[in-house]
């Protein structure tokens, strides 16, 4: 909920219609997620490279294991404190009520922390099905062949566990369903170079829902949301505020909502809980093996920092920021997330002309919400001042421009 809306609710004022509709969507998502949470036919997954189509083809709801927004007291017994709070939070969730409704978990060796989470889950939690799968670091022909074989093995193992026949046509149906959902999400993310009618945090919220709900149910909600977004666009109800690019490790919606609360407009994100997880596509070749297609689809997408191609992708970053007229970049490090530590360091060097706010914290934001709010507010205030200075002084002092932003170029705030 926006800050203004909280005030409006407190004073009994009527919310604007557009905000009422957004609140309606948000509440609907909450309800649907809660309903799915209580269902028994779910298979947990962690990394956004997980081929959810295979899980769905085995009549299970692919359910992303999110971290609990609470202290990880039980998980801390099993996982070392130098592993990120996302995996510790995920284990905490699995050990609590959420875990009892899961049929099992599928984890990839995305990082050392994920490997250790797998071990903890399989050892300390009596799930019926556990699967640990390799994830190659690039999309070379050898990697595609290898991973296609891995996916086939995984499908076979899951079908055996479910006691059902392995059916390729069912898998193809799921591939089509997920392809359509991603395509519609990509359309929503598409036109954001100009004015935007939907704030990025609502898109990220949708992405999160796509990771928790059955694909068919999500498709209905997505249709409703797309209609709303289109109407907003047609009416010219655009979001106002500094245009932001959010990137970094996995982070909770609490943190993301703070940005909106403080008046920032998320234009783009590079999160595995956001744009990166849904805006990828591949056209199947005639007669292509579905497993090979899935390998090509997932390994060929915009890379996560863990992948080999992620650092080379930085070369396009400056252009991207210019194209989308980004005013400021927020880089969020999840504490102990190596992938972003190593990428973020060079990324920070590459972004030269746009202010960058670097934040570091835990997934849950436990106890850090206030600090985050203050820091983001200060950053947005600085961006607003810079924008107004640039607009107001442009005619008086033409030399004032990006060059003068030097002193603000980087603000490092660590929690």
């Amino acid at each position: 909920m926006k800050w203004q809306n909280i005030q409006a609710a407190a004073t009994g004022e009527q919310l604007p219609q557009s905000d009422r509709q957004l609140e309606f969507f948000r509440q609907m998502l909450e309800r649907e997620e809660e309903r799915t949470r209580l269902e028994q036919e779910k298979m947990a997954w962690l990394c956004s490279y997980t081929p959810v189509e295979i899980i769905a083809a085995c009549n299970l709801v692919p359910y992303r294991l999110l971290a609990a927004d609470k202290e990880t007291l039980r998980a801390d017994i099993y996982l070392h404190p130098t592993l990120c709070s996302y995996v510790r939070g995920a284990l905490e969730n699995a050990l609590s009520v959420d875990g009892t409704t899961l049929q099992g978990a599928v984890l990839l060796n995305s990082c050392n922390a994920a490997s250790h989470l797998y071990h903890s889950l399989s050892t300390f939690y009596s799930q019926k099905f556990h699967y640990f799968m390799d994830l190659p670091h690039d999309a070379s022909p050898a990697a595609l062949d290898f991973w296609a074989g891995e996916l086939r093995q995984f499908h076979r193992a899951l079908a055996r566990y479910r006691g059902i026949a392995l059916r390729v046509d069912t898998l193809q149906e799921q591939i089509v369903l997920y392809h359509e959902n991603r395509k519609r999400m990509a359309e929503l993310y598409g036109e954001r170079k100009g004015e935007v009618a939907v704030n990025g945090n609502d898109l990220i919220r949708l992405v999160q829902a796509s990771m928790l709900l059955p694909a068919s149910r999500f498709r209905e909600i997505l249709g409703l949301f797309a209609n709303h977004a289109q109407k907003q666009q047609e009416k010219g109800h655009f979001c106002r505020g500094p245009r932001l690019f959010l990137l970094g490790s996995v982070l909770s919606k609490v943190t993301i909502d703070i940005i909106e609360e403080q008046g920032g407009v998320l234009i783009l994100d590079d999160l595995c809980m956001g744009r990166r997880a849904v805006t990828f596509d591949a056209i199947p070749a005639a007669g292509e093996d579905p497993y090979y297609y899935l390998a090509r689809l997932y390994l060929g997408r915009y890379p996560c920092p863990r992948m080999k191609g992620s650092f080379a992708a930085l070369d396009e970053l400056e252009q991207l920021l210019r194209d989308y007229r980004i005013d400021g970049v927020i880089l969020y490090y999840l504490k102990f997330c190596d992938a972003w530590y190593y990428l973020g360091q060079i990324l920070k060097e590459r972004i030269r002309h746009i202010p960058v706010l670097i934040l570091e914290g835990e997934y849950t934001g436990m106890g850090g919400g206030g600090q985050l709010r203050t820091r983001i507010a200060a950053f947005l205030e600085m961006l607003s001042q810079k924008n107004s200075m640039s607009a107001g002084e442009a005619c008086l002092a033409p030399t004032v421009g990006n060059r003068d932003v030097g002193i603000f170029r980087t603000l490092d705030f660590r929690l």
């Binding site: 690039d138 070379s140 074989g149 863990r306 650092f311 930085l314 490090y333 190593y342 060097e349």
Partner: protein
Amino acid sequence: MAHGLLKLGTDLNQIGKKIARGVSRHILHWPLLYSLGQETVRRGLLKFPYESKRMLVDYGMGQIKEAYRRNAVLVWSSAFSPTELYYALGITHFSPEVASAMVASFGFQEMFLKEAESRWWGRDNCAFHRCAMGGVFLDYFPRPRAFCASTHLCDGAVLLFNNLAARYRRPFFLLDTPLKQDHGALNYVVQQLKSIIASLEELSGKKMQAEKLEEAVACAEAARRELEEVNRLRRHPLSPFNTRDAIAYLYLYFNGVGSPVTPHIYNTLAWELKEKINGAEAAALKPPRFRLLWLHMPPIYRNNMLAYLEGKGARAVFEEFSHVYWEPMDPGRPLHSIARRMLSHFGHGPVERRLHAIKTMVERYKVDGVIHFSHWGCRQNCGSVKAIRDFLRREGIPLLLLDGDCIDNRNYAPGQVQTRIDGFLEMLA
């Protein structure tokens, strides 16, 4: 006035330091320096406890000298990458992680770490990598033509090399090592090795000759056999060779597999160990009170952890990095042999593999207890702590968990460590 003079003095001091740093950096880039070093070692002007260590230092200096040659085709390689390929192709390689260990052993790590930290390298990631980045920023290291890393064990290495490749804008060859050890995984690694060889050929302008590759694998196999012999001798109750001595020889494991020099050094070490054990038996020396197994690496910077143990009658008789985990290598099938060696690392994949290896080492070296050194920033190592603790408890083997850092000595508190060691030894007694 006085303040002005003081400031002038401080400025001069800073300028002096900068000049000294610049000069030292330039001197370190001279191959001649390492030739002089080799001569010093060969003429016996430096004393070593083992002849094999003298050979090792000579060999290491030779490698560094090659790395600093202007026309060298230099590849930076990660700690677990397949070095057999470089030896077969005659390519010089340089490991930034090993360089970090050397920097720390000479006590210069703080300057390197601080430099990296001033450029956005946080203190929560691996200090081996942070120190290496400090060396990069300070321009102490030789300039690479390409980067080559393998993915097993260490996430950070892949990320570090990715960062470096983007920074230097040089090619990055990655060996993706799967968790499984089946036929599919083996083929996948072999395919990648072929691809890396093709890339290295293009880079160096040299063609890989089959007999050279076989020769490198034969050397790797000879080294494996010799290391097994060294390890066999280390089982002896009177073996004086402890983890502190063994750390230097890990250079061979990380950098020397495939080199013809490596088996000679291990062979010499084995011979020396035999002599020392015979001498100890003749002198009727007493074995240590407690035999310990060291998991992960001990700190590389100057510290008294292992010496303190020795002083208390306990000896770290073995460390997991010296464990020979890979099967005999077949020079007739070089790529398959290298691939098997890569895949069979016990620290890669399910934690049960590491637990099994620990049990093997505990039994083989007849240890009374285990010390696990949790290197801050090593997710692979630290993450297994709970599993190891539970496993050793079930097996009835005492365990001491020590948190610390192998490179960064700024949080090292000798008093605390000694207290914990005292407590552990009291329990063993």
